[in-house]
């Protein structure tokens, strides 16, 4: 399911903030918002490389197996359906590497990402990965909301690529990005929990 919001992370935070309020209308809104921003179902946390492909081929399990082996199984809500369609239409040159899927797996992955109406078959001749120029596929990391969210993050110093969400966000593969630097800092000195309790007390 794709939520067409400008900033999926902000939507998630708004949903959380709204959930804290006990006012009836806001609670109803929060239920809707949190459902819309809900992470995709996660079939398990075992390393993707060690999971058998003979598991029941649900859309979510197929997505995690086929996409989450090489990179974080990015939550579907981080791009729109048209953008995912563009990505799936060019799996033979997937940001520089071949990531072609058999038609069965492609259909399940497309369903998981909210792409409807089928994906054109990628049939380009193979080329060495290292000779490929960067193509114009949509990137989560260049979306305006993403750039805004990471303005203060010193990714270069972390030694990881900015696409490695799970290097900083431990819950990334489960669709949770709440453990950002600020949250983590609050957790460390115990003020985060305290803060939440005060809010509950106020309400």
């Amino acid at each position: 399911m794709i939520t067409n919001v400008r900033n999926p992370l902000r939507a998630l935070r708004h949903a959380r903030a709204a959930r804290r309020a006990t006012c009836g209308a806001l609670v109803a809104l929060a239920v809707g918002a949190s459902a819309a921003a809900a992470p995709p179902p996660n079939p398990g946390s075992a390393p993707a490389l060690q999971r058998s492909v003979t598991a029941a081929p649900t859309p979510a399990a197929t997505f995690t197996e086929e996409c989450g082996t090489c990179h974080v199984a990015y939550p579907a809500r981080l791009l729109g359906a048209a953008q995912w369609m563009a990505v799936l239409s060019a799996l033979d040159d997937h940001y520089g590497v071949d990531a072609t899927l058999d038609p069965e797996a492609l259909a399940l992955v497309a369903r998981h990402l909210g792409v409807v109406g089928g994906v054109p078959h990628a049939g380009a001749a193979p080329r060495p990965a290292s000779t490929r120029a960067a193509n114009a596929l949509p990137r989560i990391t260049t979306q305006p909301w993403f750039v805004r969210e990471h303005r203060e993050a010193n990714v270069a110093r972390s030694g990881h690529r900015i696409s490695q969400c799970d290097a900083c966000h431990a819950g990334a593969a489960q669709g949770s990005f709440e453990d950002d630097e600020r949250t983590a800092a609050r957790d460390r000195n115990g003020r985060h929990e305290e803060h939440e309790e005060h809010e509950h007390a106020r309400n």
């Binding site: 390393p47 490389l49 060690q50 058998s52 492909v53 003979t54 082996t69 090489c70 990179h71 033979d92 940001y95 520089g96 590497v97 071949d98 990531a99 072609t100 058999d102 193979p126 080329r127 060495p128 990965a129 290292s130 000779t131 990881h160 690529r161 696409s163 490695q164």
Partner: protein, 147 residues
Amino acid sequence: MRRMRIVRIDRSGRALAAVALLAAAIASAPLAHAEGVTDLRDTYAMQARSRDASYVPSAERGRRFFTGRHGADWSCSTCHTADPRNDGRHATTGRTIGPLAPAANPLRLTNGRKVEKWFTRNCRDVVARECTPGEKADVLAWFASVR
């Protein structure tokens, strides 16, 4: 487990249950014993022999193929390292890749479909074509030989 589930679902119709049981038994037969690296090597070697009757898998040829660059910048070992007992690292995503040698990673090379999928994808990236059955058998022979 699979059989039990089917029996429970079809409890009402015995004939249907019997058919389902039979189907489940047939479907799960190839999975009853996991494919090993030597089974997969032999399957590819058999395919190679249909093109060249004198073909015999060679671990040394497999090692050279795996670590060679094939006219471009990447080799298989760019991501997997030149020692299949080591963890590798994906050249574009940075994700850790488990060792390929079954001696270091017993879960490796136990699923023929998965092995074929990765040969297909990765050979296009490294060799700019699909690998031949002989090349695959050689590489698997090398993985199998590593202790």
